[in-house]
C-alpha cells in the first residue's frame, strides 16, 4: 500500500511538476512519439488474454495488440512500444500526467470516467459484463448467494455494480476488497470468499491461469452489468484520438472484408474498391490522420484483423476459452460495427 500511495503521490507531484513546465495543451502526441521513436502504452499488470508478460518479458494480449497495431501504423514497427504495467488505481493518473500515451487496460467506458477525468474512450475493443465465479456445487445462479462473502479488487467499476446488484436483489453480499487482483483471487481460492466477481473475461482468464483445477470452478451465467472495455487517450489532442479510434475501427472493418494477416499483401490487388481503400492501394485514407497510405495494411500485418486478435488471445482455442458472443461482427449477431473507412 505504502508503495502505491507513494506512486500515486509521486504521479500527482509529477503532474504538478510537468504541468508547471509545459503548457497543458501543447500535446502533439504524435510528434512526441515520432521524436522519441516509441509509444508508451499503459497496460494491466497481468490479465491473461488482455495484457500479460511472459517469462522473457514479451507482452501479449488483446489490449497489447491495440498498442502494437498503433505502433505499426504510426512508427512502421510494432516492437517500438514501451509497456507500463499499471494497477487499477494508477491507470488514470498515469494517462493524465502524460506518463503513458494510450491506456489499453481493460477499462470500462462510463459517463463518469469519460466526463470527469479529462480522458476519452476511443471505442470498445471488448464488450464484457460483470459475472461471478463460485466453486462448483449447489450454487447455479448469482441470486442464490444470499449473505455470501464476495472477493473483489478495488479501484474498479466492479464494487459499485456488486453493491447495486446486492441491494436490488436484497442479497446482503459482503465485499472483501483487495488492492491487487492476485490477492483477491488468492483469497477466493483459499476459501475465504464464496464467490469472486469481476468482468466475465477476467473470470475466464483467472480460472484458466490461476485455478489449480479449473474444472472445479463455475462461472455463473448471470451477468450483472454492461462493461464495454476500451482504450483511452488524453483529451486535447484530437489527432492522436483519431489515430487510435481508426486503427481500432480499421481492424474491425478488415475482418468484415476478409483481410487477414496472411492475405493482406495479395488483397492489395483486390477488385473490391473498399479493400483497396483500406489497404491504401487506391485512395490515401492515411493522410486524413497524418499518416501514410499503408498505415492500416501494416497494422493488419502485425496483429491480424480484430477476429484474428480475438481468436489468438482469448478465443475458444486458447486457455481463456471465451465465446465470440457480443464481440462478433454486427452482421453475425455481435456488436462490432466499425464506422466505414472511406
Amino acid at each position: 500500500m505504502k508503495k502505491m500511495t507513494q506512486t500515486l503521490i509521486g504521479s500527482v507531484l509529477a503532474t504538478a511538476g510537468l504541468l508547471a513546465a509545459t503548457s497543458a495543451m501543447a500535446g502533439k502526441t504524435l510528434d512526441q512519439i515520432k521524436q522519441r521513436g516509441q509509444i508508451v502504452c499503459g497496460v494491466n499488470t497481468g490479465l491473461a488474454g488482455f495484457s500479460a508478460a511472459d517469462s522473457s518479458g514479451n507482452w501479449s494480449g488483446l489490449d497489447v495488440d491495440h498498442c502494437r497495431a498503433v505502433a505499426a501504423a504510426v512508427l512502421s514497427d510494432a516492437t517500438k512500444v514501451k509497456y507500463v504495467p499499471l494497477t487499477a488505481q494508477q491507470r488514470f493518473t498515469a494517462l493524465q500526467s502524460g506518463e503513458v500515451d494510450v491506456l489499453a487496460r481493460n477499462t470500462t467506458n462510463t459517463l463518469n470516467r469519460d466526463g470527469s477525468l479529462g480522458l476519452h474512450f476511443i471505442g470498445a475493443n471488448y464488450y464484457d459484463g460483470q459475472g461471478f465465479m463460485v466453486p462448483k456445487g449447489k450454487i447455479t445462479s448469482a441470486k442464490q448467494l444470499k449473505g455470501a462473502t464476495v472477493c473483489v479488487q478495488s479501484g474498479t467499476t466492479t464494487e459499485k455494480n456488486l453493491t447495486d446488484f446486492s441491494r436490488a436483489n436484497k442479497l446482503n453480499l459482503k465485499p472483501v476488497v483487495f488492492e491487487k487482483v492476485e490477492a483477491a483471487t488468492g483469497a477466493y481460492f483459499s476459501g475465504r470468499c464464496q464467490a469472486y466477481t469481476t468482468d466475465a473475461s477476467g473470470l475466464a482468464s483467472v480460472r484458466a491461469k490461476e485455478a489449480k483445477n479449473p474444472a472445479a470452478h463455475l462461472i455463473l451465467p448471470d451477468l450483472i452489468s454492461k462493461e464495454p472495455l476500451g482504450p483511452m487517450v488524453r483529451r486535447g489532442d484530437d489527432e492522436w484520438f483519431a489515430i487510435n479510434k481508426w486503427v481500432l475501427s480499421g481492424l474491425v472493418e478488415a475482418e468484415e472484408y476478409g483481410i487477414t494477416q496472411a492475405n493482406v499483401d495479395q488483397m492489395k490487388s483486390s477488385d473490391n474498391p473498399q479493400v483497396g481503400r483500406l489497404l491504401g492501394a487506391t485512395e490515401d485514407l492515411g493522410k486524413h490522420l497524418g499518416l501514410d497510405k499503408e498505415w492500416l495494411a501494416r497494422a493488419i500485418k502485425t496483429t491480424g484483423n480484430y477476429g484474428e486478435m480475438f481468436e489468438r488471445n482469448v478465443g475458444p482455442k486458447t486457455a481463456i476459452n471465451l465465446p465470440r458472443g457480443l464481440n462478433n461482427q454486427w452482421n453475425k449477431g455481435g456488436l462490432m460495427y466499425a464506422a466505414p473507412l472511406r
Binding site: M1, L19, S116, V176, R192
Partner: protein, 399 residues
C-alpha cells in the same frame, strides 16, 4: 559627573531596542526568515495554482463536493451503521473508525506483549531470556508487509471451511473469522459500565489516600486488590440494578456466514496480529533499553532496603526507566497506526482502502489523498499530544 553619564549612556541589559535593520545581525536574520517563509508560500501557491489551472484545462474535475454525494458501495466491516444513500463523508468516517479500532486495540496489546518481552530479557531464567531475544530478532527483522500476508494465509488457508468450522460451545472459528456470543445491550450493561467508571474514580482516590497513609505511617495498603474488588462490585451492582439482563446474541451457522453474535473477520485478525507482533518487538527493545539505563546501584539499593525483586522492578526501576521509554514508545504507537494502511493488501476496509475506492469512483485523486493525509496527521498529533502529557507526568518532579 561626566564619568557617570558616560556609563548611563549604555543601553541597559534586557531592554534592547529591537529595530529591524539590515545593519544589525538580528535584523538581518529576521529579514532572512521572512523571505524564506514568503518564498516557501509562493512556491506552494504556484504549485497549487498550476495544478488547478492545468486540471481545468485538461477537463479534470476537482473539488470536495463529492463528499456529500452517496458513496454507493458496501463496506463489509463498520463500527457505525450506514444507509444506502450515506455520503462519501460517512464512508471516510467508517474508514477512519476502522483504522482507529485496529490502532487502539493494537497499541494496547502491543504494549502488553512488548513490556512482557522487554522485561523477560532480564529474566534470571536462561530459557525465558533466550526466547524473548529470539522473538525480538525474528519479528523486527521480517518486513511487516510480509508478516501481514503470512498471518492472512494462516487465517484463510489453515483454518477450516465454514462447513467444518471449529466449534466450542457458542464460539466458532473458521475461514469466516471468529464468532462469539455478545450480550444484547440493555440498561443493565449501561449501568455496569457506569459502575466500572465509578470504580476507576474510586481507585484513583483510594490510591492517593493509600499514598498519604504510607507517607504518614510507612504501612502499605493493598491498592490493586481493593480497587479491583470495588470496581467489580460496582459493575455487578449496576448490572443487578439494571434488571440483571442475561440475553445473549448467539452466533449460529448460516449457509454462507456464521450469523449474529460478535465477530472478528480474518482480515481484522490478520492485521491485528501482524501489527501487534511486529510493533511489540520494537517496544520490547525500547523497554529493555529503558530498564538498562537505570544504574545497577538502584537495583542494589532497593534490594538492600529489603524490597523484593518484583517490588524493586515496579517501585524503583520502572518509574525511572519510563523517562527513557516514553519518547521512543510514542514513535512506535505512531508507526503502528500508520502501518495499518498496509491492510489494503489483505482486504481490511480501513481509511486507505476506502480512499482507494473513493478515488476510483470519483476520479478525485488529490482530494482523496489529501483527506487521508489530514486524518493520519490528526491522529498522529493527537497521539503525540497524549504521550507528551504522559511523559511530562513521568518526568522528574523537581520540588
Amino acid at each position: 559627573m561626566s564619568h557617570y553619564s558616560m556609563i548611563e549612556a549604555r543601553p541597559l541589559p534586557g531592554k534592547k531596542t529591537r529595530s529591524i535593520s539590515w545593519r544589525s545581525r538580528e535584523g538581518r536574520s529576521v529579514i532572512y526568515q521572512i523571505v524564506a517563509i514568503l518564498s516557501a508560500l509562493a512556491l506552494v501557491a504556484l504549485l497549487v495554482r498550476n495544478t488547478l489551472t492545468n486540471m481545468r484545462l485538461r477537463g479534470i474535475q476537482s473539488g470536495y463536493d463529492f463528499l456529500f454525494q452517496p458513496f454507493g458501495f458496501d463496506i463489509s466491516e463498520t463500527v457505525i451503521e450506514y444507509a444506502n444513500n450515506s455520503s462519501y463523508f460517512v464512508a471516510f468516517a467508517i474508514g477512519m473508525l476502522n483504522t482507529l479500532k485496529v490502532a487502539v486495540i493494537g497499541i494496547v496489546l502491543a504494549t502488553m506483549l512488548g513490556v512482557l518481552v522487554g522485561v523477560g530479557r532480564f529474566s534470571a531464567n536462561f530459557l525465558v531470556r533466550k526466547i524473548c531475544y529470539a522473538y525480538v530478532e525474528f519479528f523486527r527483522n521480517v518486513p511487516v508487509y510480509l508478516q501481514l500476508l503470512i498471518w492472512y494465509l494462516v487465517f484463510t488457508e489453515m483454518l477450516p471451511d465454514l462447513d467444518q468450522a471449529w466449534q466450542a460451545g457458542h464460539f466458532f472459528l473458521s475461514k469466516n473469522g471468529v464468532s462469539f456470543p455478545w450480550p444484547v445491550w440493555q440498561l443493565g450493561q449501561t449501568l455496569a459500565l457506569v459502575g466500572v467508571g465509578l470504580g476507576l474514580v474510586f481507585a484513583l482516590i483510594y490510591r492517593r489516600m493509600a499514598r498519604a497513609h504510607f507517607d504518614r505511617t510507612g504501612h502499605t495498603r493493598p491498592v490493586w486488590a481493593v480497587s479491583l474488588a470495588v470496581t467489580l462490585a460496582l459493575a455487578l451492582l449496576g448490572w443487578v440494578v439494571g434488571g440483571a439482563p442475561n440475553e445473549w446474541d448467539l452466533p449460529k451457522k448460516g449457509e454462507f456466514q456464521i450469523e449474529n453474535g460478535g465477530a472478528f473477520s480474518p482480515e481484522f485478525m490478520a492485521l491485528l496480529c501482524g501489527l501487534v507482533f511486529y510493533t511489540a518487538s520494537f517496544i520490547a527493545e525500547v523497554v529493555r533499553s529503558g530498564i538498562a539505563s537505570v544504574s545497577l546501584g538502584q537495583h542494589e539499593a532497593s534490594a538492600s532496603l529489603g524490597l523484593s525483586k518484583s517490588q524493586s522492578m515496579r517501585l524503583v526501576v520502572l518509574p525511572q526507566a519510563l523517562r527513557v521509554i516514553i519518547p521512543p514508545l510514542t514513535s512506535q504507537y505512531l508507526n503502528l497506526t500508520k502501518n495499518s494502511s498496509l491492510a489494503v493488501a489483505i482486504g481490511y476496509p480501513e481509511l486507505v482502502s476506502i480512499a482507494n475506492t473513493t478515488l476510483n469512483q470519483t476520479g478525485r485523486a488529490i482530494e482523496a489523498l489529501s483527506i487521508v493525509m489530514l486524518v493520519y496527521l490528526t491522529l498522529s498529533l493527537l497521539t503525540s499530544a497524549l504521550m507528551n502529557w504522559f511523559n511530562a507526568s513521568a518526568a522528574i518532579q523537581e520540588r
